[in-house]
């Protein structure tokens, strides 16, 4: 089961989906586009635990984390 985690004011919202299901994968890709289009950054972890930013949807990613646009504090 793959997962997209979106940071938001509720803490985070998690979307689990079956990456082998074409419809679910399509919805996940649409969510990816909507979020990144809205300024969110998408990141995945490599096998070594390193974070990598994704500009395009990665259907093989088990977990993708989205965080909002950065602003000066």
């Amino acid at each position: 089961m793959a997962r997209q985690i979106v940071m938001d004011r509720t803490g985070d919202t998690r979307h689990n989906f079956d990456a082998k299901n074409a419809d679910a994968l399509l919805r996940a890709e649409e969510r990816f586009r909507e979020l990144t289009g809205a300024g969110f950054t998408a990141a995945v972890r490599t096998a070594s635990g390193e974070a990598v930013v994704k500009r395009t949807f990665d259907p093989s990613a088990e977990e993708t984390l989205f965080f909002p646009r950065l602003v000066g504090g």
């Binding site: 985690i5 940071m7 938001d8 004011r9 509720t10 803490g11 985070d12 300024g39 950054t41 990141a43 972890r45 635990g49 390193e50 974070a51 990598v52 930013v53 984390l65 965080f67 909002p68 646009r69 950065l70 602003v71 000066g72 504090g73």
Partner: protein
Amino acid sequence: MRDAKERVRLFLSERGRRARVLRDSLRRQPDRIYPSSRFVPGFRYGYGEREARGLELLKEWLSPEQFAQYDAKSYFEVTGCHSGKRYRISHGTSMNIYELDGAGRPRVGWCFVPKGYLVAGDVMLAQKIALETDERHALTVANTFFSYLD
């Protein structure tokens, strides 16, 4: 005169009692939040649970070294992907990033956060990923502040 003194003593005693009751009730509240956050609609309820979830997520994404450091000291260090500089991210939601010098001493404070009202774990995780994957952009949007740590 004696009566007035007695009344003042009773007044102060009652105020002290009320202050202790208020302090004890605040300590018992599991969802205590920073005062500045209480004006955000819907932010307060379940804050403790969200805070814990944010920290769980952060710990999942920290490297074993960062996790151990955070667990022991409430901060962890990251390496900027472009400059190779070291940064210390302390527990918090703002003004919590310090650029370290060669000796590991905090020199400059950097402040950037993900937009919106996020819990500390989420904020620190976004800061970590930003510095490790796109340091230049993160510092471009950041404000600096004087580091009083040493």
